[in-house]
Amino acid sequence: MTEFLHMGGYATYVWPAYGIATIVLLGLLVATWKGLRNAEATLKALESARPTRRRTRNSSNSTGRKAADQTAGTPAEASEG
């Protein structure tokens, strides 16, 4: 084992080469993973904070239907407030 780690006297050149490659490739992977998690979290937060257009469209449909057979105005007020 020590002979293997010794690398025929070239341990100071061989192991840093493998070490640098490991650090760079793993570092890139971790940075990429974190960036993706961040972006997806931000996107989710933005999408849940802003379904206003969809909600108004849905509620205007439902108010149209509900206004016909129920008390008018209440669903529209709920969606606007």
């Binding site: 025929g8 070239y10 080469a17 493998y18 760079v24 993706l36 972006a39």
Partner: protein
Amino acid sequence: MHRFANPARFLRLSALLLPWCAGATVILTILGLWFSLFSSPPDYQQGETVRIMYIHVPAAWMSLFVYTNMAIAAACGLVWKHPLADLFAKAAAPIGAGFTFVCLVTGSLWGAPMWGTWWVWDARLTSVLILFFLYLGYMALVNAFDDPQRGMKAGNVLLLVGIVNVPIIKFSVDWWNTLHQPASVVRMGGPSIDPSMLTPLLVMAGAFTAYFLSVVLLRVRTEIAQRKIQTLRLSVASGVAGDGTVTDGMRG
């Protein structure tokens, strides 16, 4: 090609491909490390330092492979306004820069004991250093504009101009006198390297390629999410302006 221009379709495809690429990366890396560290002989001239080759050469191949792919994507982005092509080039750049950096550092670590110097300003080493700066320049340029479309366009032009460097790197060892050894794998008349050393080289190259595919898929996914974030923020900003007029009306 255009069938994959749709980001939603790309996201489905990448979700399908990613587990395979990630699995291939893990298996090929373990196999490659086994071959390169344990099951290959030391070189009769260079001793154990030959093991640096199994990192250095695949990293050098990847630096050229990634750049060529980015340049092809840049051409697609400029000619057909292919939205994913732009995102691919942007996503691949840091990975390519990483491989080029690994290639330069491991080359230095190999050169020190074998050539007696960490660095020489010869054609091969200098042209690879230029490739590294092309990657860094592209990354800086793409992010230097407020309008991402303009940044992408400028970056794509840089990538296309920089492609002249790729054949220069490949043939620099034949065209100029250099300390660097000539090509021994991709050459006329087949590889001149012993199979016991060619195997770890090719397995490591496979591992690096699978790693690149996995990470670039993740990064393109990130870029798509960021695009969506940007359009959402813009529409929120314009929506706020619209609401503003309403509240003004109500106030008045």
